[in-house]
């Protein structure tokens, strides 16, 4: 039933063509310019030395806003001034960035979480950013949120330029909160302070929804439980960083950690906190009025805005314990290590400055600008609901430094998974903490690869 006659002529011609084509391609680098991917692929020439290659990990609403910012850059600098590539969020992205730098063809500029750039810097994969380089792009250290700025430093050198701060915050359903009597005269959530006020609010909210008061993801998502835990834990006096000694020891205050886990479980046991919900499901509970509050990073603003007929507000996560605190991370720009001419460095810095100057566009997605001229602008101060939580950037707690820590890391996965079990009442706080300690131990004892 062959479609071809025996020893088909077409087939032979095709094969011959294939070989001839391959031979021609082999000779192509001799004929083509140095920007051709063929030349780069065969003899390892550098690609696109005249354009800024930029890598990022932004999808969804962030991706759309980034595209607007990139378009404005190319509108000013020409369509060929930039090649941007977006990779899948989290580990796949950082893996690609590491391999590209090790392999000698990194992008000129890349986005990195602040908690991840420290590891990239320790592995010697980043170019330090000098004050002179900042100045050449019209930037200065004093232009940035000092909390974020201090956290990107390493041995006195700058390795990243923060774009934003994205803390864990509280979303609330306006209609439900109104019914529960939790709003002030302006339709904003009344301030909640201390455990008593918080629990009173939860009781009222639970009555109003007839279901739960708070929703926070606990299934198929380990970052959210970690963010929740870190926020509560960091509010307690005496809380120490989770890991110490660059990740060689667990330094978390075990009593306070147990207390935090016990409190999360109490919220589930009391029926306030929805014990079992995945990322989208938790959000859905608040959107549909089955929960008054939803806990997540402020970036879920875009999703909430897209829900038809939903009236929602945002606020800092309330101070339940001794001090204000919230888990957070920052997106930053980094310069992967590679040979650069002064012009290329200048172009890369210019690109970063152009992005920072569009921080207002970026802020519309919920992120708090790290660039102070934007943060302090009256335009941003008037932006709602952003302005109602932007103070959080002053008391953020980043993840501890360790080669296996940071956003989307092994650390978040291990610790978050146990917290999620505690939230779901599938593990006691003691058992959860014991599991965290034992599951982290291979990483404590493994040689630091960085």
């Amino acid at each position: 039933m062959s479609a071809l006659p025996e020893g088909g002529v077409r087939r032979r011609t095709l094969l011959r063509g294939l070989f001839a084509g391959a031979a021609a391609l082999g000779a192509a680098p001799l004929l083509s310019g140095c920007d051709s991917p063929i030349a780069a692929g065969l003899v390892h020439t550098q690609l696109d030395t005249s354009t800024v290659a930029f890598w990022n990990l932004f999808g969804g609403g962030d991706g759309a806003r980034l595209q607007t910012m990139l378009n404005s850059y190319t509108a000013q600098n020409g369509a060929n001034s930039l090649t941007a590539a977006t990779f899948a969020w989290g580990d796949p992205y950082y893996t690609k960035l590491t391999l590209a730098t090790v392999g000698g063809q990194p992008p000129d500029v890349a986005v990195s979480h602040l908690t991840r750039m420290q590891n990239l810097a320790e592995a010697d994969l980043l170019t330090p950013i000098t004050d002179g380089m900042l100045a050449s792009a019209g930037l200065a250290a004093s232009d940035f949120n000092q909390n974020a700025w201090a956290n990107q430093k390493r041995a006195g050198q700058n390795f990243a330029i923060p774009l934003d701060t994205h803390p864990f915050v509280l979303f609330y359903n306006v209609d439900v909160c109104e019914k529960a009597g939790l709003l002030d005269g302006n339709g904003q959530l009344k301030p909640i302070r201390g455990v008593d006020q918080w629990e009173a609010a939860l009781d009222a909210a639970k009555k109003a929804t007839g279901a739960h008061a708070v929703a926070s993801a606990s299934v198929g998502d380990y970052a959210t439980p970690w963010r929740f835990f870190q926020t509560l834990y960091s509010q307690m006096d005496g809380s120490t960083p989770f890991l110490g000694d660059s990740g060689r020891s667990i330094t978390v205050n075990q009593d306070l950690a147990r207390k935090t886990l016990a409190y999360i479980q109490r919220m589930s046991t009391q029926g306030w906190l929805a014990p079992t919900a995945d990322y989208a499901g938790a959000e859905e509970l608040m959107f549909t009025g089955k929960a008054a509050f939803y806990l997540e990073g402020e970036w879920e603003l875009t999703t909430a805005q897209a829900v038809k007929g939903l009236k929602f507000g945002m606020a800092p996560f309330p101070q339940l314990f001794d001090r204000k605190a919230a888990q957070a991370d920052s997106h930053t720009f980094v310069l992967p290590k590679k040979d650069r001419t002064p012009e290329e460095t200048q172009r890369a810095m210019g690109f970063i400055a152009a992005m920072l100057k569009q921080s207002m566009t970026w802020a519309q997605g919920g992120h708090i600008p790290a660039y102070l001229p934007t943060l302090n602008s009256s335009e941003y101060q008037k932006l709602e609901p952003q302005a109602s939580y932007s103070e959080v950037a002053q008391y953020t707690h980043y993840d501890s430094l360790a080669w296996y820590s940071g956003s989307g890391s092994v650390f978040e996965n291990i610790v978050g998974a146990q917290i999620a079990l505690v939230q779901q009442r599938l593990a006691s706080p003691d058992a959860g903490l014991a599991n965290i300690n034992s599951q982290l131990s291979p990483y404590l004892h493994a040689a630091n690869p960085l």
Binding site: M1, S2, A3, L4, G7, R10, R11, L14, L15, L18, F19, G21, A22, L25, G26, P37, I38, A40, G41, L42, V43, H44, L47, D48, N56, F58, G59, G60, G63, A64, L66, Q67, T83, A84, A85, T86, F87, A88, P92, K96, L97, L99, A100, V102, G103, G104, Q105, P106
Partner: protein, 301 residues
């Protein structure tokens, strides 16, 4: 069992063997059985075609329609090639096609050349170490190359070959199975054909090039096609060795580079179709060789 030497085998799977099989399975209850068999076969075929047809249908909708879900896609009658023009209009896909074509073609050439050269003395010559070489070839067949991706990466890094096509080509050239296939084929070529050339004083190289290889077209094309398909589809090696989006092969590009905004579901399905298209075209031209090559030597793994 079909053999690599398909050009000569009388009954091959793709030739019209049907009349023979048609007479099989007669006897009592044959009619009912035949009806049941036809229904089952038709159902399986529908089930197997459905995913591809669904991807094609989705790719011909707009992104907005595709994001609304299955009912919207199903009832959408306004077909548009927008996703295809958008993908083919941006440079990425063409760069990926180019990378895949170059790496696959060069690997085919090197594999066919090196493997057939190595197979020739194994089939025809007596020399010291022959047994050892043959043993290494057989042992090599068992080595799971995917498991070697970490050390191969380190080696390529050391050689400065990361982010070059060679990082995809060179590790795939030592396809031990190709040596084996060539040797088996050469063993079947009558020695008398070489005798005349040898009497004329031809060198081994000359005999290999002007006598053996011209007789070996079927096996060259079988090995060539199998190598081509394997290299074109390889994900794990180029995934880690090619990190520059302009140098990525089709599978790596599809797997790593995301659209930068929104849920472009129609575009994604169109990219899946476009990524698969070259192989479907090759299948239509070379289906006998491919099917028989696979039957003769598994591509598996």
């Amino acid at each position: 069992m079909a053999t690599i030497q398909t050009a000569r085998s009388r009954r091959s799977i793709t030739s019209a063997a049907a009349p023979a099989s048609n007479t099989a399975l007669n006897g009592k209850g044959a009619r009912g059985f035949r009806a049941a068999a036809a229904v089952v076969l038709a159902l399986l075929a529908v089930l197997w075609l459905l995913p591809t047809l669904w991807a094609i249908k989705t790719s011909l909708s707009s992104n907005a329609t595709a994001s609304l879900g299955a009912p919207a896609i199903l009832s959408d009658t306004q077909l548009t090639g927008h996703s295809y023009t958008a993908l083919l209009g941006s440079g990425d896909l063409w760069n990926w096609y180019l990378s895949s074509a170059i790496t696959s073609a060069l690997t085919v050439i090197l594999t066919v050349a090196f493997a057939s050269m190595a197979a020739y003395p194994l089939s025809r010559m007596q020399f010291r170490g022959r047994k050892l070489v043959f043993l290494l070839v057989v042992a090599g067949i068992m080595v799971p190359t995917q498991v070697l991706v970490v050390p191969v990466f380190r080696e390529l890094a050391g050689l400065g070959l990361l982010n070059t096509y060679w990082s995809v080509i060179l590790p795939q050239v030592p396809a031990v199975v190709a040596v084996f296939i060539f040797k088996q084929f050469f063993d079947g070529i009558p020695r008398e054909l070489e005798e005349a050339a040898r009497v004329d004083g031809a060198s081994y190289w000359r005999i290999y090039w002007s006598v053996i290889m011209p007789l070996s077209r079927p096996v060259v094309s079988a090995v060539g096609i199998l190598t081509f398909v394997t290299v074109w589809n390889n994900l794990i090696l180029p995934l880690f060795t090619l990190s520059n989006p302009k140098l990525m092969t089709i599978p790596v590009g599809l797997a790593t580079v995301q659209g930068s905004y929104g849920q472009r579901l129609a575009d994604i399905q169109a990219s899946a179709i476009l990524g698969a298209l070259p192989l479907v075209i090759i299948y239509f031209f070379l289906q006998r060789r491919i099917v028989e090559g696979v039957a003769g030597s598994g591509l598996k793994g």
